[in-house]
Assembly symmetry: C2
Homo-oligomer: 185 residues x 2
């Protein structure tokens, strides 16, 4: 049971977005821009970064929901998502994404852990300033979302299918419409 009284039937961050509409708006925009709006990194890459950081933070809801969204963007390849979480350096993904995941993992441990050589490795594989910026911001933001979701002890369903269903909606429509959608439920 959550630490505060939330609407039933809205797991994870969804109950919190419905609880406080004033903070739901910036929280959903802060997911929309770096994860869903088009830029030079694939949506699947950005969702994998979010999923990986959430797995390091041991946040069941976020790693499962964003893992399912990443899989949607990867044509349903849930196995690749699991491989990235388990050992991204051994996963069949581009070297640039490996370098960005390495930066994200350092951010998760604390901002001061990112070393100039981590940035150099990403640049050597073609990462731009904006891609490095967004990687650090996504990793930092999921250190917030994960703590928000677990710090208030929200519910996290255990069945994979309900995550797949919600993921399909977000993968198609993005995050910006979530507060309005949840306020109607």
């Amino acid at each position: 049971m959550a630490h505060i009284a939330l609407k039933e039937g809205l797991p994870g961050i969804r109950g919190l977005l419905a609880y406080r509409p004033e903070t739901a708006r910036p929280l959903s925009d802060l997911a929309q821009v770096p994860l869903h709006d088009l830029n030079s990194l694939e949506r699947s890459d950005r969702e994998l970064i979010a999923t990986f950081v959430s797995s390091l933070n041991d946040c069941h809801y976020s790693q499962t929901s964003h893992g399912a969204i990443a899989a949607c963007h990867l044509g349903g390849d849930e196995e690749l998502v699991e491989r990235v979480k388990r050992d991204f350096n051994a996963a069949p993904i581009p070297e640039k994404l490996k370098a960005l995941l390495a930066i994200a993992g350092r951010v998760q441990r604390g901002g001061r852990n990112v070393r100039p050589e981590d940035i150099e490795r990403a640049r050597a594989h073609g990462a731009t300033d904006l891609e490095i910026h967004d990687t650090v911001l996504i990793a930092a933001a999921f250190c917030m979302y994960n703590r928000y979701v677990d710090g208030l002890a929200t519910t996290a369903p255990q069945d994979a299918e309900s995550y797949r269903e919600r993921a399909a909606g977000v993968a198609a429509s993005g995050y910006r419409g979530l507060p309005a959608l949840l306020s109607q439920q």
Copy 2:
């Protein structure tokens, strides 16, 4: 030197807000609502929570800038801010705020560290659901801001006076106007 090319003369998160206006908007709104908009917790209490978490994350820029904003709201009492950072349980602050700072400290270590008895202690001293929610969100959000600022190696001035000057502006006007202000600098 920062890990990416940022405009000179804008320390800490200010350079990052100027760098990426699309994310600056939700990032500044996410500070405005829980820290500056009026609610049942004093602005000074909420800035002390942000300052305390930033000190636990060893983020010089955020703990000094929000410590200076907290001091503004406390009529200039910088000594109280230092006492809260050093040992809030021994500081001359209300028991409710001590209980909320204890929750914030647990969120900083990870969301799963918040225990039902931490919530009960806050409730016993009169904390409402909304105050508990905002405490967890502020603590979680500063685990993001701190990692964002340090993960990109932004500059953090060492002189206290420049923090006091910037703090006076934010304490008076809030966070929402920062992106527009910084884009003109």
